[in-house]
Symmetry: C2
Subunit: 127 residues, 2 copies
DNA sequence: ACATTCTAGCGAAACCTTTCGCCACTCCTC
DNA sequence: GAGGAGTGGCGAAAGGTTTCGCTAGAATGT
């Protein structure tokens, strides 16, 4: 345990994380392709962001491979859980249930999705 | 419609909004008390932040009153909905239901709360 | 009226994130 | 092995947020 959980990712960092989650371990080039498509950034910028993220411990890289290969060092689930609790703390004063209600009531859902939520509720109740 | 919805509030701005939502319209002094308790900021900082927020349209103020009275110009609900959809877009790739499932499965809830969610689900299904 | 406290505003600094230019190095290809 | 493309690194600039010192005016108490 040398490292506390890294700071919450910034905007662009999150974009890059998403790309890496989707693509899996990748060289800068591939990450950049996506990022550029999204927002027209320069290659240098992508390299720099990845190196910043490396310092922060948000990604790791394999330097053996000729084009270095980057991969995330935090899971999508962990990150989203973290951001979710941040949001809950910051806006909903800690009440996750308020957030759930708010989220549900502001979206459309198929019957299947609703059933899935019900199933989870039942499961929670049993415990 | 002179104004598009204001930019999403930054960290400190959000802290201040929360204070104002909680206290209702207040003079700087009261806002500052809370903010200082939270993070030990200087009075000048609070004044400045409020004036920045005024420019951005996040708050309004009554300049008649001797100590100026500030109040939010966006509702808590609107803000949270906005931040929620931001989060959903950024991390859950647009799937609100994924977020709901994630949020539910990472929290504890009373039977009453679970029932409330169920009620909402039923209601959604009927429409 | 004077001193003291409260309130407001401004500009500059400090700080962080994001961007990019420039340079160097490797790796092909001819 | 010379030229060109791809890759990586660094420092500095740009842009945004947050902080605060300093100043001044308004309000209050003596």
């Amino acid at each position: 345990m040398t490292k506390i959980s890294p700071l919450p990712p910034t905007e662009v960092e999150l974009q890059i994380l998403r790309i890496l989650w989707e693509l899996g371990p990748s060289p800068v080039r591939l990450v950049h392709q996506r990022l550029e498509a999204d927002k027209g950034t320069n290659y240098s910028t992508t390299v720099k962001m990845l190196s910043v993220m490396l310092e922060k411990g948000l990604v790791k890289r394999d330097e053996e491979a000729s084009p270095h290969i980057y991969r995330t060092s935090i899971s999508r689930e962990k990150t989203s859980r973290r951001m979710l609790t941040d949001l809950v703390d910051k806006v909903y004063a800690g009440s996750t249930m308020s957030l759930v209600l708010q989220a549900l009531s502001s979206t459309k859902a198929t019957r299947e999705e609703l059933d899935e939520v019900r199933k989870l509720l039942d499961q929670m109740e049993r415990q």
